[in-house]
């Protein structure tokens, strides 16, 4: 799909690198100040390639969630820049960020992914409707079919199993064909079978439709589904694995002392 270019006058021109879906340079996030200051992110430079499935890993408190929040425009960084394609997120106002999230970013959270008052179909099309857009029926059918939700579209979230709820969340994330889907511990609340199903679906969306997916997880076997694993420790990059397996991820994590 064509990506609207949102540049703000006076900002540095977008770099020519086109293969990067998301890019962060010198990203810092500091809570508090002075001696009590906590550096959740202490200067992170990272690039996520388009049509790739990347996992962000790290021990608790390593800053992996904060990194994802900043990359997704959910939180503002203290310093540094985030680029989504050619758009500098750090210069956008709240409403611009909101619209951008609506159109160009998909989310899958660990829990509380769906609005309880809406049924599955309404939840799936919610971000598009918020922007007053009509979902493409063919794409909707394709996504729903792929995620096996056709029979569940009229159900409210509390009538769905945990795995089904996560599948609805993935469908919602894929609907607007976003630049990137961010998944935050998407299998954290699921049994292993449902977890594997969800990860397989994320992976197939990358392979089959070229969707870019960035996933935060602490589970090495979940990270093994990714094309690449970025390791984080104490707010800094601490490793980068290509074609990971559960074992190689576990080894790398041990190297971090986790």
């Amino acid at each position: 799909m064509s990506v609207p270019v949102m540049t703000v006058p006076g900002e540095p021109p977008a770099p020519a690198t086109t293969n990067a879906a998301v890019r962060a340079t010198g990203l810092r996030k500091t809570y508090g100040s002075g001696e009590t200051a906590v550096h959740a992110l202490a200067g992170v430079d990272v690039t996520f390639a388009a049509s790739e499935f990347t996992a962000i890993m790290g021990p608790s408190g390593s800053g992996k969630s904060t990194l994802m929040h900043c990359l997704a425009g959910l939180d503002t960084a203290t310093a540094g820049e985030v680029w989504l394609g050619d758009t500098a997120l750090t210069s956008l106002r709240d409403d611009q960020l909101t619209t951008l999230r609506r159109k160009r970013i998909g989310f899958v959270f660990q829990a509380f992914n769906l609005l309880p008052v809406l049924d599955a179909r309404e939840n799936i099309v919610l971000p598009m409707q918020l922007g007053g857009l009509r979902p493409d029926p063919a794409w909707f059918d394709a996504v729903v079919a792929r995620l096996g939700l056709r029979e569940r579209l009229g159900h409210r979230p509390h009538e769905l199993s945990g795995g089904q709820q996560q599948r609805v969340a993935i469908a919602r994330a894929l609907m607007p064909r976003p630049d990137v889907v961010f998944a935050d511990e998407p299998t954290g609340n699921l049994d292993s079978r449902s977890g594997a199903e969800v990860l397989g679906l994320l992976r197939s969306s990358v392979k089959e439709t070229g969707q870019t997916v960035v996933m935060v997880t602490h589970d090495p076997s979940a990270a093994a589904y990714a094309d690449r694993v970025v390791l984080l420790a104490d707010g800094r990059l601490a490793g980068d694995l290509a074609d990971p397996t559960a074992e190689s991820v576990l080894d790398a994590l041990r190297g971090l002392g986790a």
């Binding site: 969630s65 929040h69 997704a72 959910l74 939180d75 709240d94 409403d95 909101t98 619209t99 999230r101 609506r102 159109k103 989310f107 959270f109 660990q110 829990a111 509380f112 992914n113 609005l115 309880p116 008052v117 809406l118 309404e122 919610l126 971000p127 409707q129 918020l130 922007g131 007053g132 409210r156 979230p157 509390h158 919602r172 935050d184």
Partner: protein, 822 residues
């Protein structure tokens, strides 16, 4: 547990603001009512009783045996008596220089002894001898004016004398001060102006004697029929005689106070229910670490008790302040007796008691629910399933059991025009409606939500879902508003219909705006022309009249008016029959005297001329009325006996000045003629009804305000509860504005539904109320003031919207991260 209660209060103080506010307002209302009532009572006591409080004793005689001079001398001769002041009272006509008419002055004697004088002067001094008078403000005279005073003796013989105004007496606070002017003169002057023997003697104690001693001595010395009271007793008695009506008013005010308290109770119960729902995990944790269910319940009730006490104390203070404000505003320049503020202890205690008890009672059900929290709830993740309330079957049955007979009683009240049956039915059915509202409101809100979702976009659709997620809470919130709106609109519709009915009744009773008539001679022919030129006079109709001979051979006075001309001038022809060609309208007494049946011929003669007309017997009280042609054929020179005037519609002040102008014009043309300005009477009645309507609407407004606090409160708590959800929406691309819109829609749905339902129910109550109250007083005119009714709906809905502003601001600040950081 006490530490827990206090810590809870400190941490959640902000969340308790709404219920505190509701209690404060309700208590303030009750206390202000009681304080104003007491203030008004003590003001009357001070003003009406002013003359008595300084007296050691007051001796009163029965009407048929007033005090003679000897009696007074005997009283004065009692050893312990210091001074006596017999009250000589009389009425005179006085004219003030520079003003045309004379006015009635009620004259009373001023005590000779300074210690028994109670009058306070704004300027000048009290009279010191005959030929001097001090007057009240109402007499509109100035110091130095020489009044011409006419007094009348028993035979009606008029005596005219002059009296110089020496001072103006301040009667502020006296509710009767505005009725007529008052004059204060020496005893001798009062007797010279034909004051009868006194019925009352005020007595001051001599030096060194106690009031009790004086009363004991007087009891022995006074005539057998006389009554001896202390000054205070007499003051209380006089005040009570005047206050009869105002206690009824206080009763009405307290009914509205009760409404405010009930509404506040609903809001409080709601607040606590939601507060506790939010703290489920907290309470469960308490249970986990070993608190018993009883301890949890006591902690919740303790919280309610503390909130209730603090809020009630604030409410009492606010109520007293409010009363003082009203008193200061109203008391200084009106007939309403209010000055300063008198705070009775019972008002303070009632305020504290009502507020605290209502708060604790309202918290009772939520407290019970809180004890049912299982300790394990602390460990479970947040339940995202929508809350469902069990359908209250008991409530439904109870509601129907009250509504059905209530409505039947209401119908019976209307049909039999019986106020008490209607009232009983009204109260019963309204309680039923409140119970049923809990069940009826959620589906109505859901339906309204579907409608709103059609054109309100995603926020409206989400709001519709949210508004019905917790049906019980939505119902309680809306019910509080519903009660206020129902009562307000019932009153507005009822008052409008009462006004219309009274208006129609008055117009039928007094169909002419202004009536000019002369009993002795014909009105000057030129007068009609003159009056038509008066500004504000729209049309006139002349009535001619003269003496003819009736069918029985006796003289009869017959009047004639052109029916077309008269019809155009009269406001109503409901209670007057106008003649038509060949017809004589005969009142029943005339038909009886002349033995004429309805429709039979009736013959009049005059100077040998004869006219025979068809009799039309009327049940209305009017004279014999024929067509002008018929009367002129008997009396060619019949003169004008009455002129009927129709004034321009418009502002009452303009009409009053028109009546004054007409009076002046008539007085100039024919000093004997009388002018009756009925229009001003109608205007006065309207004014009274309008003021009453305004006051009561304002009072009910208090209930609506409390209910709206409830709306804001419910929303605020929803915002807290849905923090994660709102965060998710923000993450998914809901802008801040859309989130505010979501909350606004929710408020509008709840408030709008409550307002519309309330107006419908209230309108029905207003109309049936009027029908059962006025049903036995002739024809009822039902009037629905659509504009005001629409205004109620709009105002309540907009106020609901306003109530959503703060919660919405808070919601909009929700960080998108909130969805993830659970």
């Amino acid at each position: 547990m006490r530490t827990v209660v206090l810590t809870q209060l400190r941490t959640h103080a902000a969340r308790l603001i709404a219920s505190t506010l509701a209690v404060v307002i309700a208590v303030a209302f009750v206390v202000a009512t009681l304080v104003l009532n007491e203030t008004s009572r003590s003001t009357v006591l001070e003003t009406v009783g002013a003359r008595y409080v300084a007296a050691a004793a007051v001796v009163s005689a029965p009407y048929d045996r007033p005090f003679t001079d000897d009696d007074v001398t005997a009283l004065a001769g009692v050893g312990s008596v210091g001074a006596v002041a017999p009250s000589y009272e009389t009425g005179v006509q006085a004219s003030v220089p520079g003003r045309s008419g004379s006015q009635y002055l009620m004259v009373e004697s001023v005590a000779d002894a300074p210690q028994l004088r109670w009058q306070e002067l704004t300027t000048g001094r009290l009279p010191q001898g005959t030929g001097e008078v001090a007057v009240s403000d109402r007499a509109r005279a100035e110091v130095g004016d020489v009044l011409t005073v006419s007094s009348y003796d028993d035979e009606g013989e008029e005596t005219t004398a002059e009296a110089t105004v020496t001072g103006i007496v301040d009667l502020r606070g006296d509710p009767e001060a505005g009725l007529y002017g008052r004059g204060f003169v020496t005893e001798d002057q009062a007797r010279a102006w034909q004051a009868p023997e006194p019925l009352e003697v005020r007595i001051a104690a001599g030096p060194g004697f106690s009031a009790d001693q004086v009363r004991a001595d007087l009891a022995a010395a006074a005539p057998a029929e006389a009554v001896v009271r202390s000054g205070e007793e007499q003051a209380e008695k006089a005040a009570a005689a005047m206050m009869g009506d105002s206690t009824a008013l206080a009763g009405v005010l307290l009914v509205f106070g009760t409404v405010a308290v009930v509404v506040a109770g609903l809001v409080i119960a709601n607040t606590f229910a939601v507060l506790l729902a939010q703290r489920t995990r907290e309470l469960a944790l308490l249970r986990c670490v070993g608190a018993t269910a009883r301890q949890v319940r006591r902690s919740v009730l303790g919280e309610a008790l503390a909130t209730g006490l603090v809020a009630s104390a604030l409410g009492v203070a606010l109520g007293i302040g409010l009363a003082a404000g009203v008193s200061a505003l109203v008391g200084s320049n009106s007939a309403i007796p209010l000055s300063g503020v008198a705070v009775p202890l019972y008002a303070v205690l009632a305020g504290l008691g009502v507020g605290t008890v209502v708060t604790v009672l309202a918290a009772f059900a939520p407290a019970r629910a809180a004890t049912k929290v299982a300790p394990l709830a602390a460990l479970r993740p947040v339940d995202t399933a929508p809350l469902r309330s069990r359908p209250g079957v008991l409530r439904l049955v109870l509601g129907l059991l009250m509504v059905v007979p209530g409505v039947l009683l209401l119908a019976a009240g209307v049909l039999t025009a019986s106020v008490y049956v209607g009232l009983l039915g009204g109260v019963l059915s309204f309680l039923g409606v409140v119970l049923l509202a809990q069940r009826a409101i959620p589906p109505v809100v859901a339906a309204a939500g579907r409608l709103a979702g059609r054109f309100g976009g995603v926020p409206a659709r989400l709001a519709a879902g949210n508004a019905t997620r917790n049906p019980r809470r939505t119902a309680a919130t809306a019910t509080a508003l519903l009660i206020g709106v129902t009562l307000t609109s019932a009153f507005v519709v009822g008052a409008a219909s009462t006004k219309a009915t009274a208006q129609a009744g008055l117009e039928a009773e007094f169909p002419t705006d202004v009536l000019v008539r002369s009993y002795d001679a014909d009105l000057p022919a030129s007068l009609n022309r003159t009056l038509l030129d008066v500004d504000g006079v729209q049309r006139t109709a002349g009535v001619i009249g003269g003496d003819v001979t009736g069918p029985d051979g006796e003289p009869a006075y017959v009047e004639a008016v052109d029916p077309a001309e008269a019809g155009a001038v009269l406001r109503s022809t409901d209670k007057i029959d106008l003649p038509s060609t060949g017809v004589a309208v005969l009142p029943e007494w005339a038909a009886e005297t002349w033995s004429v049946q309805d429709g039979a011929p009736v013959t009049f003669t005059a100077d040998g001329r004869t006219v025979t007309l068809q009799a039309k017997v009327t049940g209305f009280e009017q004279g014999v009325l024929v067509e002008p042609d018929a009367l002129r054929s008997l009396l060619p020179d019949a003169g004008t006996s009455q002129l009927w005037l129709l004034l321009d519609d418009g502002d009452p002040d303009g009409q009053v000045s028109t009546v004054d102008a007409v009076t002046d014009a008539v007085a100039e043309a024919d000093p004997e003629a009388q002018v009756t300005g009925v229009v001003t009477q109608r205007d006065q009645l309207n004014e009274v009804l309008d003021i009453l309507l305004l006051v009561v609407t304002g009072l009910l407004g208090v209930a609506v305000v409390i209910a709206l606090i409830g709306v804001g409160n419910t929303l605020a708590l929803s915002v807290v509860e849905r923090r994660q959800e709102n965060g998710l929406l923000r993450a998914l691309g809901l802008t801040r504005g859309q989130l505010r819109g979501l909350l606004a829609w929710e408020a509008v749905l709840v408030a709008g539904v409550a307002a519309v339902l309330g107006v419908l129910i209230g309108g029905a109550y207003g109309l049936t109320g009027v029908a059962s109250v006025l049903g036995n007083q002739g024809e009822i005119v039902l009037d629905v003031p659509w504009l005001q009714v629409a205004a109620i709906v709009v105002v309540a809905t907009l106020a609901g919207l306003l109530a959503s502003v703060l919660p919405a601001r808070r919601a909009a600040r929700t960080s998108p991260v909130a969805a993830i950081a659970a």
